[in-house]
């Protein structure tokens, strides 16, 4: 471990609990690299997480950290940000956490545009409970709750967030770790609600059941299936079949940030108080 880890991680909690080859560690590394680049004071960062493997990240990060309930991280984060706006708030969720049990909170956070950054670890499976299919598991995959293959169509998290009104949406992967750092930096700098979906891998509870021989093979899959958004635009649709775009997918500065807008409410309330 290097200086960066010593600066931003709770070293007495290392090694982390994630399985051999798990993408979560890679994402955590990319995240602290982003924080270092952003130059935030550690006391001024709040990291909020939900429940599941991804939720454990807050135990390792040396900030103001809170590991909340399943699916509700964004609700807790909303209370934190609204009452101490100077804190830089990052919210970590898994795919089940963010779009199954927490789906309602996610779309409303997108709609409100409060200045926070959500990092969604999408490994297409419920890992901690032992490999049940999630809303992002692709069709015809094997899971402990789909022994005959999954039948449910899957959610595209990034598109869902764009549709719900998030003003910065990007997708990275754990393989493209440098890109991921860039995207987190840009998301954090964006004044409004930003979402970084991270396509990652669960070698134990997804990979082993779905013909991936190793964590490396799963990273290779990300490398081969992630297509830079700019490049994808120029590609024929059929060439994108089974692939996904990575990079910055959407950005808008037209919608005001929530607290800025709330300032109008405060102003109106204060004016009414004047005799």
């Amino acid at each position: 471990m290097g200086e960066l880890h010593e600066k931003y991680l709770r070293m007495n909690k290392m090694p982390h609990i994630w399985c051999a080859g798990c993408g979560n560690g890679i994402i955590m590394g990319a995240f602290i690299t982003a924080i270092d680049r952003l130059g935030y004071d550690k006391d001024e960062v709040a990291a909020v997480s939900g429940i599941g493997c991804s939720g454990r990240i807050t135990g390792y990060l040396d900030f103001n950290t809170i590991h909340t309930t399943h699916g509700r991280a964004l609700a807790f984060a909303t209370g934190i940000k609204l009452t101490k706006p100077r804190l830089k708030v990052f919210v970590f969720m898994g795919d089940g956490d963010a779009v199954a049990i927490g789906g309602n909170h996610l779309i409303h956070a997108c709609r409100r545009n409060l200045d926070m950054t959500a990092v969604i670890f999408n490994n297409h499976i419920y890992g901690m409970t032992g490999g049940q299919f999630s809303p992002t598991t692709f069709k015809n995959k094997s899971a402990t709750t789909a022994p005959y293959g999954t039948t449910d169509p899957d959610f595209d998290i990034a598109q869902l967030c764009i549709g719900a009104g998030a003003t910065y949406v990007a997708r990275g992967t754990s393989y493209h770790a440098r890109l991921l750092t860039d995207l987190i930096v840009k998301g954090a700098e964006h004044p409004g609600f930003s979402v970084i979906e991270v396509i990652t891998h669960c070698p134990v509870n997804f990979g082993r059941r779905n013909n991936f021989e190793s964590p490396a093979q799963m990273l290779l899959w990300q490398k081969e299936h992630g297509v830079a958004a700019r490049k994808a635009k120029a590609m024929p649709l059929e060439d994108m079949e089974g692939k996904f775009t990575i990079g910055e997918l959407y950005r808008s500065t037209e919608i005001p940030e929530y607290l800025e807008e709330y300032g109008r409410v405060i102003q109106a309330a204060n004016e009414e108080k004047q005799p």
Partner: protein
């Protein structure tokens, strides 16, 4: 100017033997030992791309550029 040299180390105590560094090092710097943990077998080949550092989920790899002395 000579070729840049790098010191690559693996913290064996925290390596979980996932094999990612071995698979992704473009210069085949790593091999594995009897526990499948990463071993730096050919450090002289390292070009400092840091792919191993970035992709190691357990932060057990460090790549440090070796300071060149004045007389090379």
């Amino acid at each position: 100017m000579g070729k840049k040299r790098f010191n690559v180390t693996v913290d064996r105590t925290i390596c979980k033997a996932c094999g990612i560094c071995v698979a992704f090092c473009p210069m085949s710097v790593f091999t594995t030992d009897h526990d499948d943990k990463a071993v730096v077998s050919a450090p002289e080949r390292c070009t400092g791309c840091r792919q191993c550092e970035l992709l190691c989920p357990d932060f057990c790899i460090t790549v440090v550029q070796v300071e060149e002395t004045a007389d090379g």
